[in-house]
Point group: C2
Chain length 218, copies 2
């Protein structure tokens, strides 16, 4: 890793299509309603790997979900920041692959599904904020073995970057070096050991990693 | 803080009484069964405070749950460690207050309930492993305003320390400096702004913090 984050936070269901895909499920027990505040989870240090490093596929899993995410790197302490000035707290952006084991429990941020070793490849470059004119209009693409498997845009975020920072810092302080992932689009493509995945975010960069059967990841 | 952890992991429902208290609820949707592997959550850096530091009580909350927890500090990389040798990976123990906003969603590790600023007071001393002969037989006591409000023992853990390390490192690697909290007993006492809480773990130490209305915590 060329840059070491402090804490990396992911957010569930932040794409309009991802929430819509759940349909009525969100109204079932135990929550009985869509989330009212950002539902966060953490990608701890054991998940972080760099561009090009192998993603280990656990032995009991057929394929992994590739979660294309914009990584928003915080530049200074942010506590109860209004959306209007939230982007002032951002130092830059990077490309992240928020890898998951495919699972049905959409609503519960499970560490066993999201935090296995190597489940958070992070792009090499943190692109300066000044060079990303609008983080809410970036094309996001995922390629598996060179084939385009997903395309979406951060224009489809329920909470765009500034709103997300505002809503998160309403209940917890973000520190310099923390990274907030703005969400993973619906229909995250699957990839298997032996395949290569690349994620491109317009104006931010490209992140490419091979998947390797666990035990052979070195 | 006299010692800076890497990542701090809590575990849900690891006291026999805490699981029993749920009764049939564990068999309801969406999970329909008690957890089969440790259900972990993370207490990120914004939650860490030292002995004596104020715990901020959010403005919209009446009282907070005081979560007495044994903190197990990992001394070296632990990946798929068998229970028999798991304690060799421990460098020492400390007292932790795993603070929560009281909530009904017992089963979902919510960052909004568990990760507010100052929600993880951590004891000053990491007591050397050699000085704790049996981590699975330690009396745990919580005092609010000097009055004993809870008493339990780590003998009641569903997964004792070594078993917990084994089961966690089965699916993720723990690193030097990581801290695993072995769980919070059932009936965690409540405390309000203006009160002081102390947690004592036999042979490990004492941790004491005042609760202060948010905005006045300094």
């Amino acid at each position: 890793l060329s840059f070491a984050p402090a804490t990396v936070y992911g957010v569930l269901l932040n794409y309009k299509g991802a929430l819509a895909a759940l349909g009525d499920t969100v109204n079932e027990p135990p929550y009985k309603a869509p989330p009212k505040a950002p539902v966060l989870y953490i990608k701890p240090a054991n998940t972080w790997i760099g561009d090009g490093a192998p993603i280990p596929v656990p032995g009991d899993v057929e394929a992994l979900q590739m979660g294309a995410a914009l990584g928003v790197v915080i530049g200074r302490t942010a506590c109860r920041v209004p959306a209007e000035s939230a982007l002032d707290y951002v130092v830059g952006y990077t490309v992240v692959n928020d890898v998951s084991v495919p699972h049905g429990s959409f609503y519960r941020p499970s560490i066993r599904f999201k935090c296995r070793d190597g489940f958070c490849p992070i792009g090499t470059a943190v692109v300066d904020r000044a060079r990303v004119s609008n983080p809410d209009a970036l094309r996001v693409r995922v390629f598996v073995e060179g084939v385009l498997r997903q395309e979406n845009t951060t224009a489809n975020l329920i909470r765009p970057t500034a709103r997300l920072i505002a809503d998160v810092t309403e209940f917890m302080t973000l520190a310099e070096g923390d990274m907030l992932l703005t969400g993973v689009p619906e229909n995250a493509p699957l990839a298997r050991a032996g395949q290569r995945v690349a994620i491109e975010i317009e104006g931010v960069g490209r992140l490419e990693n091979p998947l390797v059967a666990e035990g052979r990841a070195g």
